[in-house]
């Protein structure tokens, strides 16, 4: 006889209710708590009410993520490559996904999406960031830095320069000593 896979009922922010595999959904600590501590989700009538950040589209993305990582025996390389592709979505969806994952307390996904958002911010001016994220320009005074120009020399050149590579490794041995005068 074929065993029925246990399912759990979830209600998303648009009030729609869907059935998902329990072992996948249990990846999210918030859903896990609802099931174990409150006995919720076992039927359509007592569906787990998900936080308002979780739309059906976001739930579907999150469950994809959980489904992939729930499979045992995947190599770190496979997982990493999946994660990289997973966050290659537009910034709007990435923000929604971050909020949704955060509301479900799914920390590995929050870390992943936060890093992806940080990479979007990197190297941009406040104005460019405001444009991308549709944010208001409501600050009056702050330290604003603006990049002027980049010198062509590589970082390695500069580091060796600061640390005094002129004497090769010997430089480290050049220690000052003092004698009482």
């Amino acid at each position: 006889m074929k065993m029925m896979k246990p399912y759990v009922w979830l209600q998303t922010s648009d009030d729609s209710i869907q059935q998902v595999e329990q072992e996948i959904a249990m990846f999210c600590p918030l859903i896990c708590q609802e099931i174990i501590q409150k006995g919720m989700g076992s039927s359509k009538n007592c569906a787990i009410c998900l936080p308002q950040q979780v739309s059906p589209a976001m739930l579907s993305l999150i469950l994809d993520y959980c489904r992939f990582h729930q499979v045992p025996g995947r190599s770190n390389k496979e997982r990493k490559s999946y994660d990289e592709k997973f966050v290659r979505i537009d910034t709007e969806r990435l923000c929604e996904l971050t909020s949704a994952a955060d509301s479900l307390q799914l920390k590995p996904l929050v870390d992943l999406t936060s890093r992806a958002l940080a990479r979007i911010i990197e190297g941009k001016t406040p104005e460019e960031i405001r444009d991308i994220f549709h944010l208001p320009d409501d600050l009056t005074e702050n330290v604003e830095v603006e990049e002027e120009h980049v010198d062509d020399r590589s970082v390695d050149d500069l580091l060796s320069f600061i640390n005094g590579n002129d004497g090769g490794k010997l430089n480290i041995l050049t220690i000052l000593i003092f004698v009482f005068t």
């Binding site: 923000c95 936060s114 911010i121 010198d151 500069l158 600061i162 000593i177 004698v179």
Partner: protein
């Protein structure tokens, strides 16, 4: 659904800010009020590993300053606090500045400012200074050395939380003009002239607070009467850096005086002192006298109510 799609909760914003490099972090802070508030919860450079110092150049046109990162990127930054001011010391990301008749600590990245009471000087020339710990630390001691006299060094000392400067002076001083000051091995202040003179001052001693030494550079053998210092010094770093750049930081008729700092040497074996420098204008008449300081790129958020 909640309003704007970029309505990320504050703790998520803080987490994102936490993963940014200093310059990106500064941009993050300037985006909007919500992001700025979130940034106050992180102090990314408190716990960061140390990198090579950055160089901050000021005193050219009012509050407009240039910042050169360890990756040799040049940024412009507006810092009204540096207009007309002069940096006397730089240590662990904090600057000690003299400006408008007062002495204050300043973090250029957060613009955190901590004023010191009863400034002991009126003219910062011929003065060097050092401090033993960040100004937020209970152990912080500030010393300001007046070396305008050829025979006597006059030191003003202020401990954290106090408002009266103690004085101590050293006679029988026989070296050149003191150019660099630092706090050594959590124990004593060192003052170096431009050559091989070293004067030390131990603030916790009741007597014999001052000593003078001659520095010897040695690769192997050294006399038994000597001790080994755990720092090495580098001269003319700014000059070399400026000459090696495709586009110099200085115009031909600019002069500059720089304030050095102390940083861990990349070998991990000792500290490295970047000496203060003074460079004359190549062509006369001099158009601008610039000032500069080496600084460890750290960000300190200090509440505005913080006092010395």
């Amino acid at each position: 659904m909640s309003g704007k799609w970029s309505d990320l909760p504050g703790d998520l914003l803080s987490q994102i800010a936490n993963g940014l490099e200093l310059i990106d972090f500064l941009s993050f802070r300037c985006v909007c009020k919500d992001w700025n508030t979130a940034s106050l919860k992180v102090s990314p450079y408190d716990k960061s590993v140390l990198c090579d110092p950055w160089f901050l150049m000021y005193g050219g046109e009012g509050s407009k300053c240039s910042l050169l990162s360890h990756q040799n990127k040049c940024y412009s930054i507006n810092l009204p606090e540096l207009d007309g001011a002069r940096c006397l010391a730089s240590y662990e990301g904090w600057l000690l500045l003299f400006g408008q008749g007062s002495l204050f600590f300043f973090c250029p990245f957060s613009r955190a400012k901590i004023e010191l009471p009863n400034c002991p000087l009126t003219d910062p020339s011929d003065h060097v200074a050092a401090f033993s710990a960040p100004p937020t630390s209970e152990d912080c001691i500030v010393v300001v050395l007046d070396s305008s006299s050829d025979t006597e060094l006059r030191l003003s000392i202020l401990c954290k939380g106090e408002d009266q400067w103690a004085k101590s002076s050293f006679l029988g001083f026989r070296f050149g003009k003191i150019e660099t000051a630092l706090f050594y091995e959590k124990k004593e202040f060192h003052f170096l002239d431009g050559d091989c003179g070293l004067i030390t001052f131990n603030a916790s001693n009741k007597t014999n607070r001052w000593k003078q030494y001659r520095l010897i550079v040695s690769r192997d053998e050294y006399p038994s009467s000597s001790s080994v210092l755990n720092y090495t010094t580098r001269k003319n770093i700014f000059q070399l850096k400026n000459e090696q750049r495709e586009k110099g930081l200085l115009e031909a008729n600019d002069s500059i005086s720089t304030c050095g700092t102390i940083v861990p040497h990349s070998s991990g074996l000792c500290d490295m002192i970047i000496r203060s420098e003074s460079i004359e204008a190549k062509t006369q008449p001099e158009s601008r006298h610039l000032k500069g300081v080496w600084i460890q790129p750290r960000y300190f958020h200090v509440p505005s109510t913080q006092t010395w």
